[in-house]
Symmetry: D2
Subunit: 284 residues, 4 copies
């Protein structure tokens, strides 16, 4: 059973002494750093850092840390987030009819691989209600029709709010999310069933088959209004051959999709992903 930790994710303009300043903040309050990592994008003039320390023996109470750190942040011109390793993330999973990613997420949550709970599963079709129920995850059927898309999104946003959701996972959710929805919703991780930027858009396995590729892939990324253009968190590939027809690619792809998605979710939940521009820094 690991000790609970606090993690600060900090972004600010690059200058000297930032690592020492952050490590000093922890050390001055008697904290023991478990892991710290940082990255400087010289072109962007940006410093990004993740610093994690044990809460046991730390001189500040949980609720005091942010307030204290805000002074450091102002001095650095930094934006920041604070997370505690024992905070259980509340995940909503959006699905259509394919169950493999949903089942995988639910299993990993139950197995303790992801420090999370799934109080909400939303399907635009009712098919996966039984899968959600198997794992005790409440399922809501929110159909999306052409002329009530706005209402459907409103319903989904309300459900997210009512359930205090921290993260949305589009687990093969075959619906586009509007700019308005994304602006109001918590972060959304999507799994795209191709090795982006190859085969954007729909039916990527059909396109991959038509092109005769020798590897297929999957890409887990944050959803943005530009479809399939969001910051990439994780990618995975699998070898295929001329023997594989489209159905085989879809089947092989399922394994790749689950792996890329679950790794991305884990990285996000552990506060290891920082986004800037259209890119991610992944401190693993």
């Amino acid at each position: 059973m690991p000790q609970p930790t606090a993690t600060l994710l900090v972004t600010c303009p690059e200058r000297k002494g930032l690592v020492a300043r952050l490590a000093g903040f922890v050390a001055d309050n008697g904290g023991n750093i478990v892991q710290s990592d940082h990255h400087t994008d010289t072109e962007a003039g940006l410093f990004l850092s993740r610093i994690e320390w044990e809460l046991q023996g730390f001189g500040l109470q949980r609720h005091e840390i942010g307030k204290e750190f805000e002074r450091v942040a102002q001095e650095m011109g930094a934006s920041w987030r604070l997370r505690f390793s024992d905070d259980v993330q509340r995940i909503a999973v959006f699905v259509t009819r394919q169950d493999h990613c949903l089942l995988d997420i639910l299993w990993r949550v139950r197995a303790g691989e992801l420090n999370a709970t799934v109080p909400l599963v939303i399907g635009n079709h009712p098919d996966l209600a039984p899968v959600a129920e198997l794992f005790g995850a409440p399922f809501h059927h929110v159909p999306v029709r052409f002329n009530d898309r706005h209402d459907a999104e409103r319903r989904k946003l309300n459900l997210l709010k009512d359930n205090a959701i921290d993260l949305v996972i589009c687990a093969k959710y075959m619906q586009i999310l509007s700019t308005e929805f994304l602006a109001e919703a918590p972060p959304v991780i999507n799994i795209h069933h191709s090795f982006l930027p190859a085969f954007v858009g729909d039916r990527p396995y059909h396109k991959a088959h038509a092109r005769g590729v020798k590897l297929i892939g999957a890409t887990a990324h944050y959803a943005t209004p530009d479809l399939d253009e969001g910051p990439i968190i994780e990618q995975e590939v699998a070898r295929v051959s001329h023997r594989d027809n489209v159905s085989d690619l879809i089947r092989r792809g399922r394994d790749v999709e689950r792996l890329a998605l679950s790794r991305a979710v884990r990285l996000h939940i552990e506060g290891r992903v920082m986004v800037y521009g259209n890119r991610t820094v992944v401190f693993d």
Copy 2:
């Protein structure tokens, strides 16, 4: 030291009995099949087959095999190629300034990994002459200028003919080959430094970096007039991270390029690749 073998590569319209007919041809002449494989593309109604047998004890002389098989082929409506495993393929390598693929091919030839010889290296810059010379491969500098591109291609075609070249390898040859050149030249294998169809065109590592991908790739394919659209033979990928700048991607990419290219060349030389439409069947 493996026994020499004969290999038939056969393409014809799909119908029953083709495998038996081919295996029967070999067996009737006292041949011992070493490996046989075939593939039916049901959509295209096409049968593709590769059958390899030991020459020792075979009832037909090498020069008789084609003539005899032609009767079978006509009956099947087949097009076909015959190769002997001890035929040394004559390779020309086209290069610009990057040496890693050239060096790798030359080393593999010398190490006996590829049953081939390299009697011709053509560079549009003179830089790699010393590398070719290290391995005793004759180097020709054929510069390509805007208004004499036609003449340069003519010179290259003459060199290919004079050296009885069986296969051209574009080993990071940063020049487009014209439709006319490709029509006259032997098969051309190109290595593209991306995971096609992602990042077609030039500067793929810059594009990959800008997109923030987590894997980079390389694609070995037959060159066709449509740039980066030729039939794919082999692809390979490598993991990258936010720490890798464009130079790092280029460096990591070199390993991936060499592996994908050398595997593709080996598959081609062993007569394991069959092209139909824009796709390949790889019998490995």
Copy 3:
């Protein structure tokens, strides 16, 4: 929906004409070969072959094929097996307390990835009964105590027989199976949580951690009386680092175990694995 096929798996002493003989058997009865592959182990003087053809339009009824082929087999001195692609394999899964492999197999069966049914799950602990029930698979608790091991195996053999089981999967079943059990049981596929032959025996992740390896693996193999020495069907690996403690290795290993096991089971079910000596030929 693919057409049903018949597949013959044939082993016999090497000699000329075997491929033609097998293909001829199919062709003479009007069969259309979908895939055929073979392998000759020259050292062992052994020919191994897999030939699959469409049943539609084949001149022999299903029940006649074996009888007819037996004459060919006698002529070849061959042992053989016949399977039909639409035969649903009856699988028993043996488990202890870890659920990931069981859940994965049950999900793949339900998703139609494996043409199989799971009428029997046996646990030496009762923990996984709920998982089996989720998927409607009957669970039997057969505890194994030191002095009634013989009785427990007898109970298991009876359950296998009563349920007409074709294949046993040890899905992290932490019990040794006796020579007597293996002699009476159908084929048994085991997943060992290491890259065999590294880290044989128990607690391989602890050993891998102590050795400081940079990759961990899993091995799916047929169970034999020699523990961890059975013929290997499939292996898979994953990259690890100094940051991974034993728990992390176990977690990462679960993904690798599931992939290696499910691929091995699929290969077995599709009749693509042939065993000779302590090795397998995998016709994929």
Copy 4:
């Protein structure tokens, strides 16, 4: 052209404030940290850290850094090493008859992938003298016979000393190095042609073939008196099948060996590998 950096590698007993202390040392002298990473082995009670900063604008001259840091180190009870990114490492390569690893290292050095020079190649056979010469690397033939092994090692140690060698690479050097040699020599990186700890000792590809594995591997590790038991730096694998005979495994293995070895050498040269006990921490 990257700016030159200084890197400190520090090992000491675990306690609070170490990261801040190290980062503070750099910041107090006006240094800009490029990358810093650390690892705590809780069981061993050990803290290991790597901190790299730009020399430009740093308040201490190169020769002053160590002296200044020694005071910090004493306070921490730390052992440490200091390296500068523009220090060119002097590598000796030990070879027997196989040239692929030697050629790969020499090429990477020439291509600028490794910030190193190779002033010394030692072969116990003369075969690879021409390869060394191609790249202008001085070759010495030091035969090893049963009863003059001690003299041969003495000759090698003298050559290492005379050439001020920083790192020895055993690039398929098929000779055991004695405890005495290892005690006097600089660090030695060996490439073992198996996925250790599988197939220790000689002829691993023969053993791998006999065992029927589906993946082969290579392991780059620091040489220690216990053969094949040294701390592992990097491992790589490749997929093989029943079609691959021992020669094929050897051929495929060469690619894997080169990749694992060159990555390990690069990690070592960049000061990213720290050894403790029989393990490595790799800060990549």
